[in-house]
C-alpha cells in the first residue's frame, strides 16, 4: 500500500509550544527554584541554632555534647588532613560494590516475579518480610559464614537492598497502564519484547524510586556493618565512629556523623534526585516547585 503525500499545512500544528516555555510561568518557576535552594539553608541554620541552644542550656556537659563550632573545627581538621577522603573511599567502595550486586540481584528477582505470577505468590510475602527486617539481624549469621571480613558486610548490604529493589520493580510493573500493554500487544510486541520495550520503560520511574530506597537501605546496612565489623587496616567511616566512641571523643563522633549524613544527602539529591527529575521531565510530569 503506497501513501501519497498531500500538501496541506494545518494551523493546529502551531500551537505546540511546550508549556514550560510559556513566558507567564518563567518568573514563577525562577522564584520557586530560588525558594527551593534557600529553604534548606534556612532549615540548616535553625537546626544549628537549636543545637547550640541545647548546648547552652547545660543539659549535658560539654565533654559529652560539644557545640557546633568545635565540631565544625574538628570536621575541618579531618577534611584537610585527608582522613575523610580516605575513610569515604573505603566506605563508598563497599557501598558501591554492595549496591551493584543488589541492583543486579534485585532486578533479576523483580523481573522474574513480575513475569511469573506463581513465583510472586510464593515469594512476595517472604521478600516483603525481608524488606522490613532490620539488616543488623543478619550480622551474626554473616559473621558466622564469612568471618569478620568484607564478604560479611557485602552480604548484609545485599540482603538489605535487593528486596527493596525487587519490590519496587514489581510494584512499578503493576502500575503500568493496561492501555499501554494493550497497544503494545496490538502492535505485535509479545513476551520479553513487550517487557523490554513497553513494560520496563513504563515502569522506569517506579523502578528508580525502588533503587533510591534500595540505596538508602544499603547505606544503613553498611553503617551498621562497619560499626560491627571493623578491620584494623581499613579505617572506614563506621570504624572512625566506633573509635570516636571508644576514645570518648564526642567532637570526632559528631563530625563523622555529619560526614555520614552529608554523603546520604548528596547521593540522594545528586544521583537519584537528578535521575528522577530527568525522567519526569521527559514524560512531561515535572511540575515540582520544591516548596
Amino acid at each position: 500500500m503506497r501513501l501519497q503525500t498531500p500538501k496541506l499545512s494545518k494551523p493546529e500544528a502551531r500551537v505546540a509550544a511546550p508549556r514550560a516555555f510559556d513566558a507567564g510561568d518563567a518568573g514563577q518557576a525562577q522564584r520557586a527554584s530560588r525558594l527551593a535552594y534557600l529553604s534548606p539553608l534556612v532549615a540548616l541554620a535553625v537546626a544549628i541554632a537549636l543545637w547550640q541552644a541545647v548546648v547552652w542550656s547545660g543539659w549535658k556537659p560539654e565533654w559529652v555534647l560539644p557545640g557546633p563550632w568545635p565540631v565544625a573545627k574538628r570536621l575541618w581538621t579531618e577534611l584537610s588532613t585527608g582522613e575523610v577522603l580516605a575513610a569515604a573511599k573505603i566506605t563508598l567502595g563497599r557501598a558501591l560494590a554492595g549496591f551493584a550486586i543488589s541492583l543486579v540481584a534485585g532486578t533479576l528477582v523483580g523481573i522474574t516475579m513480575a513475569r511469573f505470577g506463581w513465583l510472586r505468590a510464593a515469594l512476595g510475602g517472604l521478600i516483603a518480610g525481608l524488606q522490613t527486617m532490620p539488616s543488623v539481624v543478619w550480622f551474626p549469621l554473616a559473621i558466622l559464614f564469612f568471618q569478620l571480613g568484607e564478604a560479611a558486610i557485602l552480604f548484609v548490604i545485599v540482603l538489605g537492598a535487593a528486596p527493596s529493589i525487587a519490590v519496587g520493580l514489581v510494584s512499578a510493573v503493576d502500575h503500568v497502564p493496561p492501555l499501554l500493554l494493550r497497544v503494545g500487544r496490538t502492535m505485535g510486541a509479545r513476551g520479553f519484547t513487550l517487557f523490554r520495550r513497553v513494560v520496563f520503560p513504563a515502569a522506569l520511574p517506579g523502578y528508580v524510586a525502588g533503587l533510591k530506597q534500595g540505596w538508602a537501605f544499603s547505606w544503613r546496612s553498611l553503617m551498621a556493618g562497619e560499626l560491627m565489623v571493623f578491620l584494623a587496616d581499613r579505617p572506614s567511616i563506621g570504624a572512625r565512629l566506633h573509635f570516636a566512641r571508644e576514645l570518648s571523643d564526642p567532637e570526632g563522633l559528631l563530625a563523622w556523623m555529619i560526614v555520614v549524613l552529608s554523603i546520604g544527602i548528596v547521593v540522594d539529591l545528586v544521583v537519584f534526585g537528578r535521575l528522577e527529575r530527568r525522567l519526569r521531565e521527559r514524560r512531561g510530569l515535572a511540575e515540582e516547585t520544591g516548596s
Binding site: M1, K10, E12, P18, L179, L180, T186, M187
Partner: protein, 267 residues
C-alpha cells in the same frame, strides 16, 4: 467453537476483511453472568468504513477488543484478513517516554523493518498526518489533536489491512473533531484501509461511515444497519449528514428506551 484465523489470504473478492459469525461474549460466572454481546453477525468488506453506533455500555468496545485480539469470544467465529489489525483508542496511548518518531517507528521495529525503510516511512506518515517537524517532540509537548494524529500515524505504520478505532476523537472538542474527521476521511481514501470505527455519536457516524451498524444494549445485538451513500468528502453540517444523524439519533433513542423498559420490567 472458536475459530481465529489471523493470516488469511484474500484471493476471493467476496471474502470480507472482517467476518463475525454468531459471535457472543459473556462476562462473569454462573449466576452473575452478563451477556455483553449476543450472536453478532457482521461482515466488513475490504476498504469499507463501518461505524458501530451504540449507547455507552452496549458492548461496542468489547466487540472491537474481540476483533483486535485483545479478548476471546465466548462462542462464535471471528476472522480478520491480513493479520493483526491496527488499533486506535480514545486515549492516544502514545508511549510517553518516546518521541513521536520513536512511537511511529515502534510497530515497524516489531515487524523487523530495516532502519532505512523505517525512516522513509516515518517521514511519509508524519507528512500524511501533518506532523512533519514534530518528529522529535514527546507526547506531552503535543496538543490533544496532535497526539491523536501521531497515534493515527503509528497505527498506519503497522501496515495492517484493518484499522480499528475506539472512539478516537471522543475526548476532543467539536472543532478539532471536525478537522480530524476530514483528515481521517482523506487518509482512509488514500490508503484503501478497512475501518471499523466505534462511536456513541450519531453525527460522527453519519459523517464518516459507508455503513452504520446500530447496536442495542444489554445484551449487545445488532439492532439495525444503515447503508450511507452520501457523497464524499462530506461535511458534518451538510443537510444529508444532518438528516441521517437525526434518523440515527431517533433510532438510538428508541433502542435505549427499549432497553430501559425491559430493565424496568425485570426490576
Amino acid at each position: 467453537m472458536v475459530l481465529r484465523e489471523r493470516v488469511l489470504p484474500m484471493n476471493s473478492e467476496r471474502d470480507p476483511a472482517v467476518r463475525l459469525r454468531d459471535l457472543s461474549r459473556a462476562h462473569g460466572k454462573a449466576e452473575q453472568r452478563v451477556l455483553a454481546l449476543d450472536r453478532i453477525d457482521l461482515d466488513v468488506h475490504e476498504g469499507e468504513f463501518v461505524c458501530l453506533l451504540g449507547a455507552s455500555g452496549c458492548g461496542k468496545s468489547t466487540l472491537l477488543h474481540l476483533v483486535a485480539g485483545l479478548d476471546e469470544p465466548t462462542s462464535g467465529e471471528l476472522r480478520v484478513a491480513g493479520g493483526q489489525p491496527a488499533v486506535m483508542f480514545q486515549d492516544s496511548a502514545l508511549f510517553p517516554w518516546a518521541t513521536v518518531e520513536e512511537n511511529v517507528s515502534f510497530p515497524m521495529e516489531m515487524r523487523g523493518l530495516a532502519p532505512k525503510a523505517r525512516a522513509e516511512r516515518i517521514a511519509e506518515l508524519l507528512d500524511l498526518v501533518h506532523l512533519t517537524g514534530f518528529a522529535q517532540h514527546r507526547p506531552h509537548q503535543l496538543s490533544g489533536g496532535m497526539r491523536q494524529r501521531a497515534a493515527l500515524a503509528r497505527a498506519l505504520a503497522q501496515d495492517a489491512r484493518v484499522l480499528l478505532m475506539d472512539e478516537p476523537f471522543g475526548a476532543l472538542d467539536a472543532l478539532l473533531r471536525d478537522r480530524l474527521h476530514d483528515e481521517l476521511e482523506r487518509v482512509w481514501q488514500r490508503t484503501g484501509l478497512t475501518v471499523l470505527f466505534v462511536t456513541h455519536n450519531p453525527r460522527e457516524a453519519a459523517r464518516l461511515a459507508d455503513r452504520v451498524v446500530l447496536l442495542s444494549s444489554r445484551p449487545g445485538r445488532i439492532a439495525q444497519e444503515f447503508e450511507v451513500d452520501i457523497e464524499r468528502p462530506r461535511r458534518i453540517d451538510s443537510p444529508e449528514v444532518s438528516q441521517l444523524a437525526r434518523k440515527l439519533t431517533d433510532r438510538l433513542k428508541e433502542v435505549i428506551h427499549a432497553t430501559a423498559d425491559s430493565e424496568a420490567l425485570e426490576a
